[in-house]
Every structure is written in C-alpha cells, then in structure tokens.
Amino acid sequence: MEKNLIMNFLPQLFSAIFSLSLYFLFYLPLELLLTEFLFIIPKINPYVNAFILFFFLLFANLFDWGKIVHNRKKLIALSLLIAISFSVYGIYRHVKIEREHLPKIYQINLLWIIQGQLIEIRGTNFGATFKKGEVTVDGIKFLVKDWSENKIIAEAPVPDIKGHFYLSIKTKDNKISNQLLIEIKDPDYLKKYLQ
C-alpha cells in the first residue's frame, strides 16, 4: 500500500523537479543577463519569479509523468537534465554573489551636460550617505552634491574635453560600477539659443 502511495505521487514530484530544472536552465540565466550584465532592470520581484515558476509548473504538468517514470531511457535523460540545470544554478549563484554587491547605474537623467549642470544618477549599491565615493567621466571628477544608496546628484566641473564619454561611479570601498555614455558639450553650444 505504501508503495502504491509513493507511485501515485511520484509523477507529481517529478513534474515539480522538472519545472524547477526548467526554471534554472532557462529563466535564471536570462534574469542574470537582465539584472547583472545589461542592467535593464534592478531586481526582479520574488512574486514575479514565483509566477514564472508557476508557468513552468503548468508546462511540466502537460506531460504524462506516469509513463516517463517507468521508461528507463527517459528517466536517464531527465536525470541528466536535472544535473545540468543544477550545475547552471551553481554557476548562476556564483556569478550572482560575485556581482550583486557591485554598484550599478541604471539611469542618468541627462544625455548631455555642460559645466555647472546637475545630473541625477539612479542605481543601486552606491553606499551610504556618509560613505561618499566618486563620480568620474574620463578621469574628470564631478562634485558630489548628494549621495545615497540609490541616487547621486553631482555637478559637472569645467571640463577640458568635449565629446562622448563614459560615466562611472567608484564607491568608498573602491568598487567600480558599470559605465553609461554621456556627452559633455561646449557651453558655446547654448549661444545660438540665447541670440
């Protein structure tokens, strides 16, 4: 009777493991790419992740696991898939832990700046207010007006250079953020609007 009970629930257990494997294999690398490499979104809500896993669960339940469990070849293939997916999760976790505490810039409110202009940088892991770091564009340091964990307001200095450059942030702990393109314009550019 106990064996029957186990055999009744075994397909459901396999479908749960399979859905988790699919989540590890397809979703986690995508999430890592979006949050840690492309910086498109800061952090995905745990409810959204749960909802995605739920869709994988629905997909996994479309298969007849009762037959798959009794087929040795399919069972071996499934075991391989589980092993690969858990390895992917291991790699994901390693990379995530390594990168999740790095400062990240998601948005700058201006595409171009001229001297004395204030820019607002939004992101994460910038550090506390009392641990101000540096905002630099091609080696030129900006004057930090306000510094918080998720937002920095900085003033552009008088630059020697003009053109397109990359803006980055260096925290007090010497951690360097990703770089975003910004244009430094000559103030003469505004003359035509003043005339």
Binding site: S15, A16, P46, Y47, A50, F54
Partner: protein, 215 residues
Amino acid sequence: MKKTSFFIFLNRVLYSSFFLWLLLAFLKMFNLKMEIKISFFFLLFIFLFLIIYHRKILFLSTLFLNKINFVLKTSKKLKFTESRSVSYLFYFFIREFLKFLKGFHLFLKLILTNYFFWLMLSILGVLLDTFVLKSTFDLLILFLAGLWILSAYHFKFKARNSISLALFFLILCPFLLISKKELIVEKAAIWAYIFLVVGVAQIIIDNIKEKKNIR
C-alpha cells in the same frame, strides 16, 4: 470528457505545487535562496485544494456542524440527506449553520465555563506570542499571564510547573541567540520572567498556607 481531463490536470498541478513548495523550502534550509516567494506555492496548493475538494469540504463541515448541534441538543434529530447537488449542499450548510448560531450561546457557555479551554488558550497564546507575533503587546502579555494564574489557581498547579516553564524559556534563549532569532529571544525572556514571578509567588503563598496550618 474535457471537464474530466481538466480536473485531472488541476489535480496534478495541486500535488506538484505542494511538492514544489516542499522542494523550495528544503533548498532554502541549505541557504540556496532563489529570490522566489515560496509561500506562493503553498497558497496555490490551498487554493486548488479548495477548488477541487470544495464538495467534500462542504460535506464534512455540514456534518461537523450537525454533530455539534447534536451534542448541544439544539436539534432533535441528526438529519442529513445525501445529495450530489452542490446547491442543495450549500443550502443545507447555511441551514445547519443558522441552527448552530441559534444554539451558539449554549456553545459559548460550554466553552467559556470550561477551565481547560482557558488553560489551553493561555498555553497556545504564550506560544503564539513567543514564536509567531512580531511585535510586543503589553496587554496581551498581561492577559495571558492572568489566564495562566487563573488556570494554575483552578487546577491547583504546583509552583514547580510555573518554574519549569520559566526554565524552559530560559534554556531556549541561548539556542535562539545562536540561531540569531533576537525577537523570539526577547519574548522568551519576558515569559521566563513572568513564569518565574508566578512560580515564586506560588511558593510564597504555599509557605504562608503551611505556616497557618502548623499554627
């Protein structure tokens, strides 16, 4: 046919969501967090369970209410007609529930005059306050302490019962501190102190009584 296959599919999702919840909780135990709201799957399991087994739940709750009615003698006969119609079961459930409400004052009287109920309430309340509630409510602590004193007085508990409860909470503290559950430690310390005070008060009262008896 389509309805049956959909029902089978829902049944599969029901159990697999439960297994997934167990699996995620198991992984979390080993600090393998995946930024997933794990409770989502438990709630999904409950939700699907209610959808799939609503007939049986309705049936059992009706039976249960009927049994209470029978015990309280609010209904003369135990009536139940087997029917496959859900609407009839629902009507039956409402009717029996109204009957139960009619005899509710008897039910309340039975419960409120039962000291064992108050004892259970105080023990469950203390456990709930210590391990579940996330903030401290002075009035609740006072109420539960009062309940414990009342129960101890009624059941003639010896002082060592209160003292052993105090020691239980006191022993719990270092282990909870190791596992960094500061809030529970705080609550456990409060209850250790309260039970200790009650125990000591009981010892003093017992001594006074003994002295009086000797005289």
